[in-house]
Amino acid sequence: MLTILFDGIAYGMVLFVLGCGLSVTMGLMNFVNLAHGAFAMLGGYVAVQAMQRLGLPFLASLPLAFLAAAVVGIVLERLIYRPMYAKSHLDQVMFSIGLVFMAVAGTDWLMGSTQQFIHLPAWLQGRFEIAGVGIGRYRLFVIAICGLLAFSLQWGFTRTRFGSRLRAAVDDARVARGLGIPVNRLFALTFALGSGLAGLGGALGIELMGLDPSFPLKFMIYFLIVVTVGGTSSITGPFFAAMLLGVADVVGKYLVPQVGAFIIYALMVVLLITRPHGLFARARA
């Protein structure tokens, strides 16, 4: 049971890294980017290709995944995302779904529809036991990296100048602009960071979630839950939401496999209904 819990935490950690970028962009620009998963997929494929084609070690391919997704993110933000900010949520949702579809079909065309695998180095394989609890080495590694990321994000968000400007812009973009904070540039940077984190999460998650062209559609709902449940005004909110989701999903699938993803969707609907205004209230302000 504790092993399952441990797996759930590792899963939740990856979800957090994947989803936190989305929560900031949603809070900052009030922009619903359902294509967030596409950046994660990009990172995953970059990592796989880097290891298979270039023969890079696993650890070196992770920053590469981050960079690739961040660069693509900043370019796309410049070129096609920017006109979308002023449009309605319906437009944004349809626009980003269109991007998701293109990413899914494009990846299918380029890479084939098969599931991708990575070869983990020996020191990350297998599991060991502490007090009867089986701990996968890779999962421990994921928890360590993601935990570190979460801490540094929290630190950056609350303690640095960049973070305080960002928080000001999220809370009230107009006033922040009036105070001379370059909201658009801030947003471009944050978008790149969020996309990069998604890419990194995608690379880390290959072993846990799998990777095939349908990845952005399959996990779209997960990111949305992380954001809706966690809120957009802090790092801790999405973090706990991701933990909750990861544990609930893994435990649910172990204990009652026949209901599958049902639990997650039901959870989302119930949460949205019980807190219909609270979830996005900040973003609308």
């Binding site: 319906l90 779904i97 991007l99 579809f101 293109m102 709902i221 209901v259 969707y265 609907v269």
Partner: protein
Amino acid sequence: MRAETFEAKVRQALYAGRRWHPAEIAFWLIAFAAFLLFPSHLLLLNEIAILALFALSLDLILGYAGIVSLGHAAFLGMGAYAAGLFAKHVGGDPLAGLVVGMGAAGLLGLVTSPLVLRGTDLTRLMVTLGVALILYELANSFGSLTGGADGLQGITMGPVIGLFDFDLFGRTAYLYSLSVLFVLFLIARRVVHSPFGLSLRAVRDNPLRASASGVPNARRLAAAYTIAAAYAGAAGVLLAQTTQFVSLDVLDFHRSADLMLVLIIGGAGYLYGGLVGAIAFKLLQDAIATFTPQYWMFWIGLFLVLFVLGGREIIHGGIKAVAGRFARLGRGGA
């Protein structure tokens, strides 16, 4: 005196929308004539009619009541499965199946309507998406009832009104689907021009003001949502009956997304938008499928992106402008 003339003017304006335009009559004549004009494309025409009905359903809530939905496939699937199961276990009469399917989908709409009444557009989008995903998972896991991933097989349909058997070429299928579409369209047309339909538009445009002038917003929206659900259910029924097969695909997310594209192409907020959009969408799909069958998804994505970037109203706005110019030309000449 002046108040009376004002009232007469308002009445006249309201009646004007209700009257049949010659173009509308021509549209339906062509739709029925298509049966004779394109005898080798009846299966495609049947698909168009079904998609048009599905789009009409979304138009009722999106265009007239302003409710956004990303999970309209839930009702399509509900209708399809209800009709399929009814045909399999109870009887093969298509019209009885239609009533059952519409009833089931309408009931689902009624039950889920409280969920869409609350919150912002974004919450609505996600809740409707969530409901559709839940149904998909349910249909997937209750394999003993629905056939799970293999689909619901072994549906045999009886003849329509005891006379017309379904055939391989889609002759009966097209006329049946088109007739159902036509009848439901007439009802929808009546509904949107009724005081009920007008109050829906009032709620869409300004909910606060509508409720201040005595419109029970929540009840009106719930009623509209239920009607639209029944319509989508009817589309699902037609799909199940004319193909005699139901698979999980009817509940898939891409159904809802496709439908959005249909309404973008056709334009929301006037009943023909869905119909025109469905024709354009299916012809487009058919054309693209002939040279690249595999990556239809890419193209639909590209179209979504381009349409949103270029402005959603681009196509039917353009058509309207052209039509307006022609009308002015005609008046100038006369």
